[in-house]
Symmetry: C2
Subunit: 489 residues, 2 copies
Amino acid sequence: MVEVIPHWLDKQAELSPHETAIEIPNQHVVTFHQLRDESRRFARKLSNKGVSEGDHVAIHSNNSLDMVLGLHALSYLGAVAILLNTRLSETELTYQLTDANVSLVLTSVEAKQFIATVNQSYQICTFEQVHLHNELAISLKKELNLDELFTIIYTSGTTGFPKGVQHTYGNHWWSAISSALNLGLDHNDKWLVALPLFHVGGLSILIKSVIYGMPVYLMEKFDVEQVDQGIKIDGVTIVSVVSVMLERLIDKLGESKYPASFRCMLLGGGPASQTLLERAKKNDIPVFQTYGMTETSSQIATLSQKYALTKIGSAGKSLFPAQLRIWKNGKIAVESEVGEIQVKGPMVSRGYYNNEIANQKTFENDWLKTGDLGYLDQEGFLYVIDRRKDLIISGGENVYPAEIEGVLAAVPGIKEVGVIGKQDDEWGQIPVAFVVRINKELSIEEILTYCRKHLAKYKIPKEIYFVPSLPRNASSKLVRYKLEGLLKK
Amino acid sequence: MVEVIPHWLDKQAELSPHETAIEIPNQHVVTFHQLRDESRRFARKLSNKGVSEGDHVAIHSNNSLDMVLGLHALSYLGAVAILLNTRLSETELTYQLTDANVSLVLTSVEAKQFIATVNQSYQICTFEQVHLHNELAISLKKELNLDELFTIIYTSGTTGFPKGVQHTYGNHWWSAISSALNLGLDHNDKWLVALPLFHVGGLSILIKSVIYGMPVYLMEKFDVEQVDQGIKIDGVTIVSVVSVMLERLIDKLGESKYPASFRCMLLGGGPASQTLLERAKKNDIPVFQTYGMTETSSQIATLSQKYALTKIGSAGKSLFPAQLRIWKNGKIAVESEVGEIQVKGPMVSRGYYNNEIANQKTFENDWLKTGDLGYLDQEGFLYVIDRRKDLIISGGENVYPAEIEGVLAAVPGIKEVGVIGKQDDEWGQIPVAFVVRINKELSIEEILTYCRKHLAKYKIPKEIYFVPSLPRNASSKLVRYKLEGLLKK
């Protein structure tokens, strides 16, 4: 049975017309009633630009109210939103626009010039231009069919061509509900979004807002001062972060504390270091470690707060409607055995757009083969070891970069570290580390001395490079293939 | 796309093994892990009794832990549970067992003798007998397909034969999620069940417990002392009641108050009187008025607490995934116009079991025609006027029994009142009232004097009978057709 629900923004505008939907700090707030009216107006103007049901419309923008309106407007038209990373190169942009069969690109004014250089064959339109259009008196969607496609987001794959992950309304719905069953639903909640809305981690909060009737504290980008103020003064109760953001927030926090109403620091974007988790714990920050990816429409496993202290480093258990298993040699792995993490559930994407080869490789009997490595402990808690594609095989031994990074991050004087494999005639691959130092006194010999104490010999980086910063994507996740680029220089 | 989730009790046992699932006051608690193990054991024993996937198994029991085990056990087998009202007469029981194609009746020891007299053609088994069986080493359901049938509950229709309302796993799932989106989800919640589990109002709490990971405070039946203790001492935060229960709770409360942690008195089972709502308000009881029926798998509209004072008497708005409209003369009624309440959503039953005629009459384009009358005010809040089948038409004027009852309930000296229509040669029908007095001093003339002040002439009861009590069903709802029986005596 295909489930149909009322259009979620219409419904929330009916239930909570005067409640805040979007709060832009230091600027203004938008109620659900206003958001609905503005989004519907924007939809009717887009219709005047020729957008209709089933069309693929790209959005190229940093976080903004216009971007939110654009997204909801497309849902009122039954059009599909392709969310573009604003950091993409021209080549990458052209690839995604072509691959996704985009008929129109919506963009912010600043980005327009850049987009225009990409390819003359795309119709490009700024949000401002749309606002100036007249509205067409068309009828808009009153209901959402949960089986229908809403968004396509390309995965920042480290190798090969990116793949367009398709999300139905149902995927987003189930993701929001799964999170609520895990974190609880409090009518005083306010969720801060500093992650880009063009990634699923940011987008998912926007959709939770509409389904829960919860205000979103929307920031254009991560700003440590503003996040600190959001939590301490503006009533933010939940923040989604990646490790590097949390690190900066703790630095900023100093001796101060967050108020008791702040209930969740949702930490995603890859395994966190023990050091970071312990710093958070010392500062009484309620960290919830999560595991997820674009294909799972945001997190699919989360460590509940009640286990934060006893299961440090774990990503917890899969969310209520989801299933998770460790797969090794064609069967379910035994306890503590490392294998591929596979997941299943109604929040998992039905597949990549227009990419049958990748679909056949990635999905099997409704299970998504994540390519990530992990194990379950004796109580069923997930520990994510690493992304399989980053696996370093050195002299026949498996070496997981994240493990080495976790150890190096604990070296006094090291701020950040990234590890990759380097081709080596003798060993096949060797681990190599890129280190950002707090100050220049730290020497390679000191690092190696520490390593010899904490790592098996084959895991010790054979080369260590000091760098001023590490390459990160828009979600602040480490981009390992760019480290490979550094090696080649 | 048919949604599949892990078996909900398995999943909750994985997420919250040591948390309380069921608390039987003054007796013992059962954790989710224990509930899972016991239910699976019970399933394997039932299998030894010949129960297998797709079988229809009736449960005839008052609230008990065995009844809970039986229900979950059937879900592990993929069998369908037919929940029988323990107050049914022999004729009624036989009708339902036959209509639902029941192959086995599970019953409590006390009820067995009664059941046995019903019909010799049914296999009847007490919970105790099942416990004594050996377990068959069969494989149990690991997943739930949300499209599959889980329960059938017969509606206590006031006329004609009862109809078996089918609920899929999905209906129950969406009902639980809808309620969470309305009431919020708090990890400290504990929901008291005094309503019978064989009605959807009670059953739905059991399913919420499994999905939320929330303890249920399970009572065999409503007991005012025990409910009062549950809220004041045992940490109950939510209670589901009907008007008559709330009335007694307020009487018991006297000058005392409930603790601040008590956050929701969910009031269902028909429109509540203004007097009752004002008494509750005076006692700081957070009443949430609801509207729902067996076909909607529990409530489908609820008045949020924030509107409790401004919209007194309203059942609020339809829950997030639901739609509600007022239908009048083949189109949507205008604001404030009374018409038939129609509802749609993934919690609404797909139809009655084996009853195509009723289905055609009741469902149209996925909308359920409830037969109830109501209107929406200018802000879209639902006011339920009455059940259409109870409508009294007198001299061409529509008279709603609930309206007259609401007025009479406010007469000093009246404890309870029920109103029905009586056939009349002159007017077609006339309203007739049955009154339970607090003491015998109140006279008919005093009641009529009050009525003349508060009711249009055609609405004033033409006959008033004093009775010691009113006929109520197991959910404490007034059973009007039994009042008609009194008239005929």
